[in-house]
């Protein structure tokens, strides 16, 4: 589904991602870990196509299409969706209006989706304006439930979320990734950035990767990587050097 090969990305003429290779097949969920500032969010934003991130060499292909020069909205239409870690507030734009503008769903369908994540009272509020940490995440999940992307990128879905919301978020994200669908029929894929690994309590991931200083250093079983990082820190991954 997603193929990244020999990818180099620069921000303000400084290379921040070096020689990234990543393959995510249909139905697969991958976990991306790594210290703060290692380039994890940069990778997600490069896949989404944000202006500030310039691909200097290598390629990103999705469903067989080269994304390099594709505008963000066309990537979204192709099936890429992203949960932002710090989504901007858009004053004057009602959440309900945004959801209506980005889908062909009727008002009732949107209302029902909003209720499923306890966001029905937020449809008439400005997008993300004055939302708490948990509300921001639920707003993001709601937008993705409306969008139904085939490939879902989640940038630290646990951050700023209390325990009660975490359970809701975990279940909803599992639903978005079709974890309830038999593995042979599962088509939705995901790439999840996590520091704590709490999300793994709600869904199984197929592969884990560790990024350090703009390079993917290790690949492996996500739970094993999490255990090693918890016990020994990222230094162990530096030593592992399985590029």
């Amino acid at each position: 589904m997603l193929d990244i090969s020999d990818l180099h990305v620069s921000v303000d003429n400084t290379e921040v991602l070096h020689d990234i290779n990543l393959h995510i097949g249909p139905g697969e969920t991958h976990i991306l870990m790594g210290p703060n500032g290692s380039g994890k969010s940069t990778l997600l934003k490069s896949i989404m196509g944000f202006d500030a991130y310039t691909i200097t060499s290598g390629s990103i292909t999705f469903k067989g299409k080269d994304l390099t020069d594709m505008p963000i909205n066309e990537r979204a239409h192709l099936g890429i969706g992203m949960m932002f870690q710090q989504p901007p507030a858009v004053s004057g734009l009602k959440l309900g209006k945004l959801l209506a503008a980005t889908s062909h769903r009727g008002e009732d369908a949107i209302e029902a989706l909003a209720q499923s994540v306890n966001m029905e009272h937020f449809l008439s509020r400005d997008v993300n304006v004055g939302f708490s940490g948990g509300e921001l995440k639920r707003s993001e999940v709601l937008q993705l439930k409306v969008q139904q992307p085939d490939f879902l990128m989640l940038d630290e879905p646990e951050s700023g979320v209390d325990l009660e919301n975490m359970s809701l978020m975990g279940k909803e994200i599992a639903g978005l990734l079709e974890k309830d669908v038999r593995i042979v029929n599962r088509r939705k894929s995901g790439l999840i950035i996590t520091h704590t690994g709490y999300i793994l309590d709600y869904l199984n991931a197929d592969q884990g990767h560790v990024m350090i200083n703009g390079q993917i250093r290790c690949h492996g079983n996500p739970r094993e990587i999490l255990r090693v990082v918890k016990e020994k820190g990222y230094g162990e991954c530096l030593r592992c050097k399985q590029i």
């Binding site: 909205n73 734009l93 945004l98």
Partner: protein, 362 residues
């Protein structure tokens, strides 16, 4: 009103004029210096041309050139020298009219249109006035000088919404002032999103009674060649009065000067000025907020920001599937969405429609 050519009727519709009078309680229509129509359906609200009003009510002279001084500047002096023309609205004590009164001032042939309006809401009365000012599509040059005096009585509430739709050669000089008594509320909304040569105004609200409130909201778009010198001022002249001055300014090549002044001169007074400017194409947005406190019991603040649309907001909406143009238009529309509390739904819907129509032109 139906004798107006189609093309001009469209221009008038953009200012909020309801030719068919749907959702309007009364209507006043002045073309150049001629009053074409004055009607009012509500019982305890009277609308009449100023000349007739001055003849009919002797007491009106106490409200004539009282809020706005005759010799304020050359424009008021000019109007004072002319035969008075304009609209007087008198809302009797307790009169409550949910539907707006519309006053339409249309500049068609004469070089200068002058008008002198007086709006009086007596104790406990509640009225909404939409002043739509426009010029004929054929009108290349001209000037409009409008004096408006508004008196908000004890516990009364007046909403005055002014929508401008001029031409690139027209200069406009509104001169208005409001006196708000105890527990009175004055809401002023101003919208100018069409090309004009120059608009120059600095309306003042004098809050002279306890608990009086004034709120000015302005939405201004300066197209290339337009100079919008806009201000609003509130004098907190009694205890527990408060004022809020809110401006959203956009330039697509013209100049907006956004002035604001709040003077707190009594205890337990509060005032806030907020000006946000969006530069879509190189032009000027110049915010000049002034807050002036004269004693310890007043609390005044201001915030102003001028800049371009935040790139990360556009990208956020694009990640949800909107094109860059759609995302930009959506953000601009949101920027202009000033929340005006206490506005009747019909008026808010109307303001929204005016913004929507103009916004599609960016």
């Amino acid at each position: 009103m139906k004798q107006i050519p189609e093309k001009d009727r469209e221009r008038l519709a953009l200012t909020g004029l309801e030719v068919e009078m749907h959702n309007r309680c009364g209507s006043f229509f002045q073309i150049d210096q001629n009053v074409i129509q004055t009607t009012c359906g509500a019982e305890d609200v009277e609308m009449l041309p100023i000349k007739a009003a001055l003849e009919k009510y002797d007491w009106l002279k106490d409200h004539y050139w009282k809020a706005v001084p005759k010799d304020k500047d050359k424009y008021t002096q000019y109007v004072a020298k002319q035969e008075p023309q304009g609209l007087v609205v008198i809302a009797q004590p307790g009169a409550k009219v949910a539907m707006p009164i519309q006053a339409c001032l249309f500049l068609r042939e004469e070089p200068v249109q002058h008008v002198h309006n007086i709006f009086i809401a007596k104790e406990g009365a509640e009225i909404h006035i939409i002043s739509g000012c426009a010029s004929s599509w054929q009108k290349k040059q001209g000037a409009h000088i409008g004096v408006t005096e508004i008196y908000v009585g004890k516990g009364a509430r007046v909403t005055s919404t002014m929508i401008h739709n001029w031409n690139p050669g027209i200069s406009v000089f509104p001169r208005s002032a409001t006196i708000v008594e105890e527990d009175g509320t004055f809401l002023s909304n101003y919208i100018c999103m069409q090309p004009v040569r120059q608009v120059n105004m600095y309306p003042t609200a004098h809050l002279i009674g306890k608990n009086a409130v004034a709120r000015f909201s302005s939405i201004a778009v300066a197209t290339p060649g337009s100079l919008l010198d806009l201000g609003s001022r509130a004098i907190l002249g009694a205890e527990h009065t408060s004022a809020e001055l809110i401006t959203r300014a956009i330039t697509t090549g013209g100049t907006v000067i956004s002035r604001g002044h709040i003077r707190g001169e009594r205890d337990n007074t509060r005032g806030h000025i907020e000006c946000k400017g969006l530069i879509l194409k190189d032009g000027v947005i110049h915010a000049i907020p002034e807050i002036e406190g004269t004693l310890t019991g007043t609390e005044l603040s201001h915030e102003a920001a001028v800049g371009k649309i935040a790139r990360h907001e556009i990208e956020y909406l694009m990640a949800r599937g909107l094109s860059e143009e759609e995302a930009t238009a959506t953000i601009i529309r949101g920027f202009l969405d000033v929340k005006i509390s206490g506005l009747p739904a019909v008026l808010q819907a109307h303001i929204d429609a005016v913004i929507d129509k103009a916004e599609s032109g960016f």
